[in-house]
């Protein structure tokens, strides 16, 4: 579904990614783990078009997307929920969700998606008329996720969704990701919580200093000496 082929990218000349290749098959949950500053977010930002790669190609369902602006990538069903939630704090929960469905004009379709999101996150229905900024961090994360779903994604990129959440909420969040995956959405999960992410995913990649150093199924990576030493502290 998504094919990232030896991309390099950076910010104002400073390289953040070097020769990164990865692929995601339809229906999978794929995770990218790695420590802070390894370039995980840059991968997400490059796929969604916020950062243009300096070399390499990205194809989505067979079509090259690496030179497209973000809004055209979203229109193709590739949706990025950024790190740090980035909800529109002064707008209400409903307005945030409706903006998530910006690429569609059909009111019945928007209503259908709203129902689906409210089913997954009932709290958002309760807080529908509240401003996003007045909600707790966990609720804002639910909103960011729900807003991403409003675009009816084929592939959903989640960048550090568990950042700053209490352990109990992290569990809820991972349950929600599992539930989203069951509805047929392909997921690329970028996480610092290596253990939870590897348990959840089908396959994973380990990123260090902007390079993919190893890849495998979740179970394989959890067994790998390198991952256990570097990220699981075992």
């Amino acid at each position: 579904m998504l094919n990232v082929s030896s991309i390099s990218a950076g910010y104002s000349g400073v390289p953040a990614l070097t020769d990164v290749s990865l692929h995601i098959n339809s229906g999978e949950i794929v995770t990218i783990v790695g420590s802070n500053g390894a370039g995980k977010s840059t991968i997400a930002r490059t796929i969604s078009g916020l950062v243009k790669p300096t070399s390499g190609t990205i194809t989505f369902n067979g079509e090259r997307i690496d030179q497209l602006p973000p809004h055209e990538i979203v229109a193709r069903g590739l949706v990025h929920v950024p790190e740090g939630r980035h909800v529109f704090s002064k707008l209400t929960v409903t307005e945030n969700l409706r903006l998530g469905a910006y690429t569609t004009d059909s009111e019945t379709e928007i209503e259908r998606r709203l129902e689906r999101v409210y089913e997954l996150f009932p709290i958002l229905k309760e807080r529908a008329r509240q401003t996003a900024g007045s909600m707790s961090g966990g609720q804002q994360q639910m909103l960011a996720l729900g807003r991403g779903l409003m675009a009816d994604p084929k592939l959903l990129i989640l960048d550090e969704p568990s950042l700053g959440l209490m352990p109990k909420l992290v569990e809820e969040l991972f349950d929600a990701i599992r539930a989203i995956s069951k509805t047929g959405v392909t997921i690329l999960l970028i996480e610092q919580r290596v253990l939870e992410a590897l348990e959840l995913c089908h396959r994973g990649y380990v990123l260090q200093n902007g390079r993919i150093v190893t890849e495998g199924t979740g179970a394989e990576l959890m067994d790998s000496e390198m991952v256990r030493k570097a990220y699981l502290g075992m």
Binding site: S48, G49, L50, P69, P70, H71, V74, A75, V79, H80, V81, P82, H86, V87, F88, S89, K90, L91, E95, R98, L99, G100, Y102, T103, D105, R147, A151
Partner: protein
């Protein structure tokens, strides 16, 4: 007497408010201080004047048309000039509208000479008495018209999908682009809307005000003060700020002498910028 002055200030403030609202909208969405805003008011005044001269259209009646023309002009200006420097260095962003302003004012001088002109036989003239207060009819029409246009713009930004997208850009540009919003196109619309505000205000002003190439400068500056007063990025704040300025200008001008009225306005500006840099209800792009 003070009641009379306050009413006069209120009427003037409403027109300032419309100009300021456009300025605030542009700043909130793309972080650009539009120093050419006054020049846009001037262009709209000339457009009204020529429409009146050649087609006999009264400026008040032609105001929707002028607003529409200025919307188109704004979209064009955005894509031809403003958008090109938006990602550029800070100084370029700061100076581009300043340069545009000088260009437009001097073009007007070249094309239409520095002569003062006035619309002949405006539809609204004379005064009406409201209790003890005299109200000049063209100013009343201008202020009501300005409030209507301001209300329409406010409704558009708050209640329509495009308006919501414009708000989203002003709150978080990156997140907005991840929603599938075409930032460039919406920036163009926002700039156009801001110009339409200046355009409608210019048409209302043309009904009773002298028209000359530099006429917009003071309106642009006063709008800037109003926006600073209300808070950059807050459209309601800009409107309220502008009404306050209208009152400061007329009432204060009466007390200290009308040749010093703008000194008072800018003194108010300085005090606000020092005491409350974010304005009365400010937010928006940093």
């Amino acid at each position: 007497m003070y009641l009379q002055l306050t009413v006069g200030g209120l009427l003037l403030g409403c027109v300032y408010g419309l100009v300021a609202m456009g300025l605030s909208l542009i700043y909130g969405v793309m972080g650009i201080v539009n120093f050419a805003h006054g020049a846009f008011v001037m262009l709209a005044m000339y457009a009204s004047f020529w429409l009146n001269r050649f087609l006999g259209l009264d400026p008040v009646l032609s105001s929707p048309l002028i607003a529409l023309l200025m919307f188109g002009f704004g979209v064009l200006m955005y894509h031809a000039v403003i958008g090109k420097v938006l990602e550029g260095p800070f100084l370029a962003r700061l100076l581009v509208t300043f340069g545009l302003s000088i260009f437009l004012i001097n073009s007007a001088q070249f094309l239409w000479s520095p002569d003062y002109r006035m619309v002949e036989n405006p539809m609204f003239r004379g005064i009406i008495m409201l209790g003890p207060v005299f109200i000049e009819r063209p100013k009343l029409v201008a202020s009501i018209g300005s409030l209507i246009v301001a209300g329409l713009i406010y409704w558009f930004v708050r209640k329509t999908k495009t308006g919501l997208a414009i708000q989203a850009i002003s709150l978080d540009r990156m997140a907005a682009s991840l929603m599938g919003i075409n930032i460039e196109r919406l920036n163009g619309y926002a700039f156009g809307l801001g110009c339409a505000c200046a355009g409608a205000a210019g048409a209302f002003l043309a009904e009773f005000y002298y028209i000359f190439p530099d006429v917009g400068t003071m309106f642009g500056l006063v709008a800037l003060v109003a926006v600073a007063l209300g808070g950059f990025g807050s459209t309601e704040g800009a409107l309220i700020g502008a009404i306050l300025i209208g009152i400061i200008e007329t009432v204060g001008g009466f007390i200290v002498g009308s040749e010093f009225k703008y000194a008072l306005v800018f003194l108010a500006y300085l005090v606000i910028v020092i005491l409350r840099p974010r304005g009365l209800m400010g937010w928006g792009a940093d």
